[in-house]
């Protein structure tokens, strides 16, 4: 399993298929923004998003979307506030903001958001 720092530093990609996104690291999600949907409920009963943790990666299913590529332009990001697995979730400094962009061949580009991206935690 990779750390988020390794993923970003090595410009590693995630993957997407339909409404599913696979991220090559494990984390606790705090907030996900996709289009104008702001998702903070990650419980099992949540209809918006489902998280499945695997040994080596993290699965995200966006149930309200048939195909993510139909809804998102190439300039539009899925924005996530997260805390890497093993780090103290209550320490604000551990809260990381990342942006996911859908690319060709089912690849998902993972970037840490910079000051240009509008992203209110």
């Amino acid at each position: 399993m990779y750390t988020l720092d390794e993923v970003i530093k090595n410009k590693m990609n995630g993957l997407y298929y339909g409404n599913r996104i696979l991220l090559p690291f494990k984390a606790q999600l705090l907030k996900v923004i996709i289009e104008s949907d702001i998702i903070t409920d990650f419980s099992r009963s949540s209809k918006g998003i489902q998280l499945v943790e695997h040994e080596e990666f993290l699965d995200l299913y966006f149930h309200e979307y048939k195909g993510l590529s139909d809804s998102l332009s190439k300039f539009e990001a899925i924005k996530i506030v997260l805390v890497e697995e093993g780090k103290n979730i209550f320490d604000w400094n551990n809260h990381r903001k990342i942006a996911l962009y859908l690319a060709e061949k089912h690849k998902v580009t993972i970037e840490e958001t910079d000051a240009d991206i509008l992203f209110i935690e």
């Binding site: 907030k31 923004i33 289009e35 104008s36 949907d37 702001i38 309200e64 998102l72 332009s73 300039f75 539009e76 990001a77 924005k79 962009y101 000051a115 240009d116 991206i117 509008l118 992203f119 209110i120 935690e121």
Partner: protein, 458 residues
């Protein structure tokens, strides 16, 4: 506020009684009042869809909007044999969406970075600046250019009221000083209202409206204890503009606003096509600015066609379904014109501009006000006479149409876009009803009442 004329129900076939001259200058038969239903249904769905059945609405709003629009179109073409009313509405819609689309796309690759501490005073100055600018590049252009820097400078202290006041001031009230500021004033300009009439006659009302709203904003903002220290980086630029070449596109769009046969006689009319040279220029600029856009800026602005797509689909439905509502209002206004005072025009234009598009509302009430004095809105000489002799009515209608667009998310095109951009940034915006109940009624209505008391009482 409006009177129901029983003749509408009783004498549907008497053209002499139940007819009106529309803003397009043609006589048309009055529609049956039941035909207001598609419009009311559409408004209800726009209000409730995003709250109660969000994803169904997101997947189907375009079909619903077009379907309801087609109901009205079928009625006009099939039952009233009135092609002109539909054609006129489509023409106005194309002008409306051409301006919004071109400004939206041209602003999409302009990136404004601000690096100063957001605080009540700097926010007030920013909003005041935006209000002034909206008279030069339109409320749509100003909203699209300034909403992102406004969110960025307030990111550490973001609360929904910041966005709401942005909508109040920059997306609406600010643009009341020139015909470029807001579409209804532009339509008035096309009809013969002199370009500088607005600023000469509306400025005292504008400054009071802006200052009162800014004062209330300031009181909200000083109670926001969160600081914005994290935004400021010492030694860096204060304001940085990227994609400045798009300012040229902006200039072309603004100049093209005047390229109209009614303004410049040498401009050829493309009639019977429902658009003109102006719309062709605007759409061309939209394409050119997107094709030549800086990809980094588009990415930083998270450019997406969805907000403009949403406005385009919803407003085609609104423009079509509101034809009967506007015609009935115009008719009723004329029937009861002797009872209509400047106050009635101010509140009526305002109330309808809150939920209808304010451009045709403005035209219909202008037509009614001129009709009160036996003047015809379709004659530029009559309009010029009206603005000199009975200017108080035009002032009431102009202010009502522009200011009250801030009352709901659908009162003016940019409101929805600002809401959409804010939500994409992670800001949980109030619902349609919360916006009205929590913000526009308690904040704007008293401001508008003060304006009525000072300027339009009587």
């Amino acid at each position: 506020m409006f009177f129901v004329n029983r003749n509408i129900f009783a004498a549907e076939t008497k053209l002499s009684v139940d007819s009106l001259v529309t803003g397009g200058g043609h006589a048309s038969q009055l529609p049956h009042p039941v035909m207001v239903l598609p419009f009311l249904v559409l408004l209800l769905l726009i209000a409730t869809g995003p709250i109660f059945y969000k994803h169904f609405w997101e997947r189907n709003y375009h079909k619903i909007s077009i379907l309801l629009g087609l109901v009205t179109v079928s009625y006009y073409l099939g039952f009233l044999n009135d092609f002109k009313s539909v054609e006129h509405s489509v023409t106005e819609y194309i002008s409306f969406i051409a301006l919004l689309t071109s400004l939206f796309i041209a602003s999409g690759s302009i990136l404004i970075k601000v690096n100063f501490k957001a605080a009540p005073v700097s926010n007030v100055l920013f909003l005041l600046f935006g209000a002034v600018i909206s008279n030069l590049i339109g409320t749509t252009g100003a909203s699209m250019l300034l909403i992102r820097p406004f969110i960025k400078m307030n990111r550490e202290r973001m609360k929904p009221y910041l966005i709401i006041f942005f909508i109040f001031i920059i997306s609406n009230i600010g643009g009341a000083l020139t015909p470029i500021g807001d579409p209804p004033l532009f339509l008035g300009f096309l009809r013969g209202v002199p370009f500088f009439w607005v600023i000469e006659n509306v400025f005292p009302i504008w400054i009071i409206g802006i200052l009162l709203t800014l004062l209330i904003f300031f009181l909200f903002d000083i109670s926001n204890k969160k600081t914005a220290e994290a935004v400021t980086e010492k030694g860096k630029y204060l304001v940085e503009l990227k994609g400045s070449k798009n300012l040229i596109y902006f200039a072309i769009i603004i100049i093209s606003v005047f390229i109209d046969p009614k303004v410049m006689s040498w401009v050829p009319s493309l009639s019977p096509l429902p658009f003109g040279i102006r719309e062709i220029i605007m759409f061309s600029v939209a394409i050119a600015s997107f094709k030549t856009a800086d990809l980094e800026n588009l990415k930083a602005n998270e450019f997406d066609f969805e907000p403009i797509k949403e406005v385009a689909y919803l407003f085609i439905g609104i423009f079509l379904t509101m034809i009967p509502a506007l015609q009935l209002i115009a008719f009723e206004s004329r029937v009861y014109s002797q009872y209509l005072t400047q106050a009635t025009f101010y509140w009526s234009t305002g109330a309808l501009s809150s939920v209808l598009d304010n451009a045709p509302t403005y035209l219909n009430f202008l037509s009614a006000a001129m009709g009160k004095f036996g003047l015809d809105i379709n004659l530029a000489a009559n309009v010029k006479h009206f603005v000199v002799v009975d200017e108080v009515y035009l002032r009431a209608i102009s202010v009502g149409a522009v200011f009250f667009g801030a009352m709901t998310y659908i009162g003016n095109g940019p409101n929805f876009m600002v809401k959409s951009i804010s939500e994409q940034a992670g800001i949980e915006m109030p619902s349609f009803f919360t916006y009205i109940i929590k913000y526009s009624l308690p904040i704007l209505l008293p401001v508008f009442a003060i304006i009525w008391f000072l300027f339009f009482r009587g």
